[in-house]
């Protein structure tokens, strides 16, 4: 399938300021990254704070000039076709806000006009999107008076009002409580299913990215260090977590784990052991041979978070 967004060797270097008082050091925020996004795909952009996620999004929107590299949307160069391309690309962020004193409906009306939604269908389109994002009852409220979750839904509604082909979402669930974040994730997935849009999704919430994305790019210090499905990335981590409730010979278990240099954590009778997936059977056999008895066992398979933490440790 052909890519509708193609990024080639994109680089952003922030150079020192001109004024001596505000002098800063040269800093490479994004370093020669290349990737593509295909039709209908949700591509996750994962990285710690300062990894270059937001910088990349800003360059993809044209609000930040790249130092070098190219961006192609729909096989057209973004540098020379920015306005034409932005008619088919939209954006929402958990950090940016819509004008606070305008009502939700007024804000969406301004945005719809910017996207050239025809006057005859503008009101219907706004009504539909208000209902679809659960904002109908809030339509006449000032945007500044909304809760964080409602405000995020409004910025998402803004992103979908133009029926875009690509939506760039920059940490849309940042600063939301878990319930609101889940609500927003469901909205995004529902919209993606109904509208078949391609989504580039940045986050530093591993579970969120694993849940939502078809493919994940992991950014570290401005460089892409992994590009795969969340499942494949997690699979590349062999460590699993074995949880045991020990009912007999806890001290023997501790001695054994110390002898074998196996990492573990103890909370009263509950022990969490980090062990290679392939060595779990051997571990359980050893416990049985030492007459160590447990009443409950559960095994957590490696997750994307484990992969990410592994990378962080290897730094």
């Amino acid at each position: 399938m052909s890519a509708i967004l193609r990024v080639e060797n994109l680089t952003k270097i922030f150079k020192p300021g001109f004024w001596p008082l505000f002098k800063s050091h040269q800093f490479t925020a994004v370093n020669k990254i290349s990737f593509s996004l295909i039709k209908g795909e949700i591509l996750g952009f994962l990285g710690t704070n300062g990894a270059g996620k937001t910088t990349t999004i800003q360059m993809l929107l044209g609000t930040l000039h790249p130092t070098s590299g190219s961006i192609f949307y729909f096989d057209k160069d973004f540098a020379t076709n920015r306005i034409e391309i932005l008619k088919r690309v939209s954006y929402a962020s958990g950090y940016d806000k819509l004008p606070a004193r305008l009502t939700v409906r007024e804000n969406l009306d301004v945005i719809a006009r910017m996207y050239n939604v025809p006057a005859a269908e503008r009101d219907n389109r706004i009504d539909a999107i208000l209902k679809s994002f659960g904002l109908w009852n809030l339509r006449n409220k000032e945007t500044g008076s909304l809760s964080a979750g409602q405000s995020t839904r409004t910025t998402l509604a803004k992103a979908f009002i133009s029926n875009p082909d690509i939506v760039l979402l920059d940490e849309p669930t940042a600063s939301l409580d878990p319930e609101s974040a889940q609500e927003v994730r469901n909205f995004i997935l529902q919209q993606q299913r109904e509208r078949h849009v391609s989504i580039l999704f940045t986050s530093h919430n591993m579970a969120e990215v694993a849940h939502m994305c078809d493919r994940v790019l992991i950014l570290k210090q401005g460089t892409i260090i992994a590009d795969n499905t969340p499942e494949e990335l997690a699979r590349s981590v062999s460590l699993a977590r074995v949880h045991l409730i020990i009912t007999h010979r806890l001290d023997a278990l501790v001695t054994y784990l110390n002898q074998q240099a196996i990492p573990y954590q103890i909370k009263t009778h509950e022990v969490e052991i980090e062990v290679d997936e392939k060595a779990i059977a051997l571990l359980l056999a050893d416990l049985a041979s030492r007459n160590i008895v447990y009443s409950q066992i559960s095994i957590d398979k490696p997750t994307l978070e484990d992969y990410f933490l592994n990378i962080a440790k290897s730094e």
């Binding site: 609000t63 930040l64 000039h65 932005l86 950090y95 301004v110």
Partner: protein, 262 residues
């Protein structure tokens, strides 16, 4: 350039203006205060002058015309500052909105607001001082357009500094226009000023408009030359100011528009 986009910019700011009590007060209160103060100063001057010139009208026209410059400058600058303060810059300029469309929208919005303010001032002047509406309209139509263009130019000069320095430079928007009030002889003839300041004053289009207005009102001198020079200079200043603003706006994208809100 698409008019729909320009109109969307107008609607965005007009809706804010109509909803914000502070902005409504600023639009209605200060002109009222200015009309009262300068009208009574004019009446007092009139009483102490042995002349046929109508100093009340001259003072009132001066404040009416000066407001055209100062307010249009502030409106232009505050529309951009509003986007910075609302953390809306990245949202706005990630839309398919050309900078030329935003500029046109802001100028259109300013012209609507200034027309409203001027009509409101004329109503007050008629109410308090009984100066004929036709005379006010005539003087405004003659002298206000180049002053409006000058104000817009001043606004964009402010904005080029704000897009370079961010919101810490926002006070400039309110300082800069008033800085020109003493220089361009809004409230007194330029020959009152020291010679060297006069030389500077004649570099500004506002000076010609105000001199033209006073000469027309006091000596009935045909103001055509003053108006032509004022138009020509303000057009040049506006073109330079807008070009510089676009240059600095694009240049600020090297560090990113988002940083302006920091």
């Amino acid at each position: 350039m698409e008019f729909t986009h320009c109109w969307a910019v107008v609607l965005r700011h007009a809706r804010l203006w109509m909803r914000d009590v502070n902005l409504i007060l600023v639009t209605l209160y200060w002109p009222l205060l200015d009309v009262l103060i300068w009208g009574f100063i004019g009446s007092w001057m009139q009483r102490n002058q042995n002349t046929s010139a109508d100093y009340t009208a001259i003072c009132l026209f001066a404040i009416l015309l000066w407001q055209t410059t100062a307010r249009s400058s502030i409106i232009v600058a505050s529309t951009f500052i509003e986007e910075i303060m609302a953390n809306n810059l990245v949202n706005l300029f990630s839309l398919p909105l050309r900078i030329s469309e935003w500029i046109s929208g802001v100028i259109l919005f300013s012209s609507i607001l200034i027309s409203f303010t001027n009509l409101y001032c004329m109503g007050l002047i008629y109410l308090f001082y009984n100066i004929p509406v036709f005379k006010m309209l005539w003087v405004t139509l003659l002298f206000a357009p180049p002053l409006f263009l000058s104000g817009i130019a001043l606004g964009f000069f402010c904005l080029q500094i704000i897009v370079s320095l961010g919101k810490r430079a926002q006070e400039l928007a309110f300082i800069l226009s008033w800085f020109f009030a003493p220089l361009c002889g809004a409230f007194y003839p330029l020959d009152i000023l020291p010679e060297w300041i006069q030389q500077i004053s004649y570099c500004f289009p506002m000076a010609y408009a105000f001199e033209g207005m006073r000469n027309y009102m006091i000596h009935s001198i045909n103001p055509a030359n003053y108006i032509i020079i004022s138009y020509a200079l303000s057009a040049v200043y506006l073109a330079v100011a807008v070009a510089l603003f676009i240059f600095f706006f694009n240049r600020t994208k090297i560090k990113g528009l988002a940083r302006l809100s920091d």
